[in-house]
């Protein structure tokens, strides 16, 4: 069943940023969007989230427009910069989502989720007392506490170093393997996209959807998979696909 349906989306700011984007994401599917800087990945995600209105085209989430999907709390959104209130604790920042959505605390326990996210010792700490990785996990927990069927992530590990990025990738793959949520994940990292996704979609520098390919690796995905030859082959294939898309592009324009 299609959960997210993007049809013919076109977005113009001062110049066209997205052109003719159509994308269907199935229920429970993890789709990564990969592309060079400035190709419109974040704009597309913001349109899906209802934060931007496309110049043309439409987005449906479970058959509803993005704004209506937000109204029904169907979306969770996490970005590169963790959206945390500095004056709230780890627990308080997660609870904020429940306060806004008006959901019953007994059905949604921030404490349980924070234990699952490895933040049980940090529940009463404030964002400035957390490490970068902990802050990002806190932000993702806040985006997931109300159990939205769709999670949108915009380079959530983009500001972290490579080691931490891999560790959080392992952790996210493990978390999402149990929830069955539909995920759209924007990233620069091809290996991260391949490791986490069921499908990787490439965007061209001029804001169109390029090729995409299925990642037929078994789930749940464990850390050891990164050393698997099949995984390495898929990353190579993805790199080649991206090379083809960006061929002839002047790096000075980036």
């Amino acid at each position: 069943m299609t959960t997210i349906s993007v049809t013919n989306v076109r977005m113009i700011f001062t110049k066209p940023v997205l052109t003719g984007i159509s994308l269907a994401v199935q229920e429970g599917e993890f789709v990564s969007i990969v592309g060079p800087s400035g190709c419109g990945k974040t704009t597309l995600l913001r349109i899906i989230a209802g934060l931007l209105k496309p110049t043309e085209g439409s987005v449906l989430i479970n058959g509803l427009g993005s704004r209506e999907a937000c109204r029904q709390h169907l979306l969770g959104y996490a970005s590169q910069s963790p959206a945390l209130l500095p004056f709230r604790t780890t627990r308080g920042n997660v609870r904020l989502t429940l306060e806004i959505t008006g959901q019953n605390h007994t059905n949604y326990q921030p404490e349980d989720l924070l234990v699952q996210f490895g933040l049980e010792k940090a529940m009463e700490l404030y964002p400035h007392q957390l490490s970068g990785g902990m802050r990002q996990r806190n932000a993702i927990a806040a985006a997931m506490i109300h159990k939205p069927p769709v999670i949108l992530m915009d380079e959530p590990f983009g500001a972290l170093d490579a080691i931490l990025r891999n560790m959080l990738g392992d952790w996210l793959a493990n978390i999402l393997s149990t929830t069955g949520q539909t995920v759209v994940f924007v990233t620069h990292s091809i290996s991260e996209a391949v490791f986490l996704s069921d499908r990787v979609v490439f965007m061209t520098p001029d804001g169109r959807l390029g090729t995409s390919f299925e990642v037929n690796l078994p789930r749940p995905r464990r850390r050891e998979l990164r050393n698997d030859i099949h995984f390495a082959n898929l990353v190579t294939r993805a790199n080649q696909a991206l090379d083809k898309i960006t061929q002839g592009q002047d790096w000075r324009s980036q």
Partner: protein, 250 residues
Amino acid sequence: MNERRAYILMVFSIPILWGIAVKASGLPAFVIPPPSLVAKVLIEVAGEFWFHTRATLEEAFAGYLIANVISLTLAVSFLYLPEFESFITPWMVLIRNIPFVTIASIMVITLGSDSPIPKLVIVVLITFYPILANVIKGLKSVDPVLLDRMEVLHASKWQVFIKVRWPTALPYYVAANEISFTASIIGAIAGEWLFAKRGLGFVIVRALMQYRADRLYAATLISSVLSVGAYILVKAIERWLFRWKADIRD
């Protein structure tokens, strides 16, 4: 040295430095009274000083509260009605740049010198702008990523205001009060100095006319204690409100 110790040191240093200055200047006591003489007059006419101090505090608090109501109302209006901000800003600039003494003088002519309004106007004019400017800045300084999160959660304007914008603006508001709360006392004294028949400003003018340096110094001492006390009170409230970032401060 921490801040508290520095304040204690200042309190003990003042009479010592003052005594040295009196001796070194060689001027008579009716020009520069020694601390002992000022202490004596403070004790002798304590009731009279308390009456005037209370009058000053009443005017300062009243003006300060009015300034808060005006500033907070305007700041919130500016946030949600940007056109209103554009309309009001030139008026703010005009009011802010007319010397407050002239506005208050016009009010004395219109309302009479017994009216408390000219004094309140001076306090309000001195105190409202720092609060307004800081609160607007605070309300608009929310991380856009947080606003995105609120929008995706379909938060109402009220929820965004009460859970995100106001708590974010609170440190700015408290910082403005470090200036405004102290300035309210100075403003009240300035108003009394010009127009009143009671209050510390009035005591200062009368002492000046009667060449009573002991009373002038006593009134100055009380004014300083009130202003510094107001500042310390705001700092204490700030520390309590933002105790969660104690380790950042340390």
